[in-house]
Subunit: 451 residues, 2 copies
């Protein structure tokens, strides 16, 4: 006999068994439906791109992680996020698109990282962005987190916060301290305050030659908290006369008011002046979303406002606002915390079990059920009835239809509720309606059991 | 200003603009719903696999086309079909799966072919397979083409044929002629008869040292036609006393009867003794689906029965039956033939256009509509009303809601049907229901306009 090869996969790749895959699919569907309910268009760009195009901007850590190879004379890279291919797409097709252009993409991206817990080499991101031509109203900065609120709520997440800040406000603040030149380094440092503590931030600031009084002002600034109105009032009280600072405050106010109009409760968003987002290209509103009971998870969904989506590919000014959920990572975190709700390993609603050799009647019953929108499977195979029930139990199908000669003769159908054990026999002409009633009485399974 | 990089993609990659992408998404959704209506489980295997695992069986042409590269010490390949990763998955997880195991997968696969019209380097396949442990009833051989009939019909395809044959029948036939040894070469040759003509097949057979009388028998055999019953009667009339041949005939009869029970009309399937399917591993029923008016398209959907899904990875016997649609190729063929039905470049049902500066009322109206399941977008931006209507027309949105100060004061909503130009004003409390009635009165767009 030929030597067998071990059927293993690479570390860092998430591959789910049916029960969990069904939950992951439901998660993707909830995200997709929420994105489409706001009129976002699905886009599907290639996973492979020319390296010269994909890596126009990348460098350093990102570039090292990329799966890059040569085929023939072509230098090819696998996409490492959904934003760069999107910017390439918009630049390429700008004359065919209607602006503001709203797109979503739920797709796999690749990073050849060292495998470690929670780090994936292949993972799904679910991105939404709105792109304007030349300009884009700041009201859209409220729409994006409003969608994320919908998504996370529909997934079953209860206690989470969308934290917002504004880079114009930050820039103005550091300008007012005369620290604009060091501001990039300062932001990087302040971003770590929850991890390293305020004393270490103070020491770091001193290393950056920030004067002692300014250190104190920075540390007081990032500690400003409370409701949106309270934070805005405290910011006003700072009395900073700087245009960028004032614009930032106004934008936060506009976004907050619009969030209220969109029905997002203040229990689920706040202004957090510590949030900066590392990436250089954010220029206005920035967001990070954290789960209250799991602070170690960090941000599960983040993004912000940028001035130029596609500056590597076009001179046209394309400002935009976007957010992204790392679906694979989120699923993995939820799963590790025991919060994923699985419910059987099949999408089947009804499993038809023929008792005899007859094939036509079971197939016809199945056809009737499918035509009524019921997901139906028929078990064929010359095995004992007991074994058929073992299969039914293993898959976790909610209803089983049992068809023997008697049923066929009298044109009736017997079915069993696999949860309660109750059995019922109804005429063939009524079975689809009866089973649809039973199925719609079952509660819809959430993705997340509780948080 | 920094030099710009041309935002181009590689040849052989399909990237669609919004209007067509929306149709492609609808196509995927129809396939997915049909697969799930028969109780198939979605699986999602990695796009990257270890080369030693993925290429356990591959060789020759396939291996040359594979995107294969090294990262660190790891020899990695991109999947070139969905079957090999699936067989690896089943072997790996065989103890956790319930058999018969029914899975579908709609995913991208990669082949580094020379780019030419109709050949893709990245393309979607949509596979379904049912896998048994040790054995699997032949009735499932009817279920698979029945699903494909549903899929193609729901896509809007009208005139097509699922052509079936059986490898046991073929093996028995060639055994009866004493040609079993050459049968692989003969099958390859006969498979080309529609392309090269029967005279060339005859010459080829002679080259293979097939005796003149046997040549005649083979050519008569493959020309057998008519309804299923007529073909089966003619096969019986051949009087061939061979077990494999008889089993093949019986299996075709079983499959045909079951297809009838499943409601698949004989206008859409037939026995075609010319179909052989190149792959070695098919052992029973084989299928190819052709579109009547486009014979040059070849098979748009094909598959068959195999005895050992995963023999490279496990000793366990895992017989199965499956079919696959090449979605990217099918979409491209339909598009080239002008048969794709596009209908606007947004999923949005209703576009809200604020007339003034007020933000809260438009956002609240949009929220009300979304909560009623209406896909709603709001246009914000300091542009003339005319320009907002240009956007509405460019996206092809079916309804526009216009909100000025009057509407806000009287808590009413005015909307316009963009197809007919009709306008209507209704109270805010009734707008969701009224617009839902309008929207559900619109016909559902097909994917394919006609064939």
């Amino acid at each position: 006999m030929k030597k067998k090869i071990t059927p293993k996969i690479m570390p860092g790749f998430m591959e789910l068994l049916p029960a969990k895959q069904l939950v992951f699919e439901r998660m993707k569907q909830i995200v997709q439906e929420a994105y489409e309910s706001y009129g976002f268009v699905p886009l599907d760009t290639p996973i492979l791109e020319l390296s010269e195009v994909l890596l126009a901007k990348a460098g350093g850590e990102t570039e090292k992680q990329i799966y890059r190879f040569t085929k023939g004379d072509t230098d090819i890279s696998m996409r490492f996020d959904l934003t760069v291919p999107f910017s390439r797409f918009v630049a390429k097709n700008q004359n065919d698109l209607a602006f503001p252009f709203r797109r979503y993409c739920i797709g796999k991206v690749y990073r050849g990282e060292r495998p470690q817990k929670g780090r994936f080499r292949e993972f799904y991101q679910a991105d939404i962005d709105i792109i304007g031509s030349e300009k884009l109203s700041v009201v859209y900065d409220a729409e994006i987190p409003s969608i994320m609120y919908q998504v996370l709520t529909k997934l079953g997440l209860k206690r989470f916060h969308i934290r917002m800040n504004n880079r114009k406000l930050l820039r103005g603040f550091y300008q007012s301290l005369g620290l604009e030149e060091q501001s990039a380094d300062i932001l990087r440092l302040v971003d770590k305050i929850d991890k390293i503590g305020s004393e270490n931030v103070r020491l770091g600031l001193l290393d950056l030659k920030v004067p002692e009084t300014a250190c104190q002002q920075i540390l007081s600034f990032v500690e400003i908290g409370g409701t949106v109105d309270e934070v805005l009032a405290q910011l006003a009280d700072l009395g900073i006369e700087n245009e960028s600072f004032k614009t930032g405050c106004e934008e936060l106010k506009t976004v907050s008011d619009a969030l209220t109009a969109l029905g997002v409760p203040q229990t689920h968003y706040k202004i957090d002046l510590k949030i900066t987002r590392g990436l250089d290209y954010y220029t206005g509103t920035v967001y990070e979303t954290t789960v209250d009971d799991y602070p170690t998870w960090g941000a599960i969904c983040s993004g912000g406002r940028y001035d130029n989506l596609a500056e590597n590919y076009t001179d046209r000014k394309l400002p935009g606002i976007g957010m992204s959920i790392g679906l694979t990572r989120l699923f993995d975190l939820l799963d590790d915390a025991g919060l994923i709700y699985t419910n059987g390993q099949t999408p089947t609603d009804v499993l038809v079990l023929p008792m005899g050799d007859g094939v036509a009647y079971p197939l016809m019953v199945a056809k009737t059920l499918r035509e009524a929108g019921i997901k139906t499977e028929v078990y064929f195979g010359d095995v004992k009835f007991k074994n058929k029930m073992v299969y039914a139990n293993k898959t976790g199908v909610p209803y089983v239809v049992i068809l023997g000669e008697d049923e066929e003769k009298s044109k009736v159908v017997s079915f069993k509720n696999m949860t309660t054990g109750e059995q019922e026999t109804v005429p063939l002409s009524e079975v689809a309606k009866r089973l649809n009633d039973c199925l719609s009485a079952r509660p819809v399974s959430p993705v997340i059991t509780q948080v």
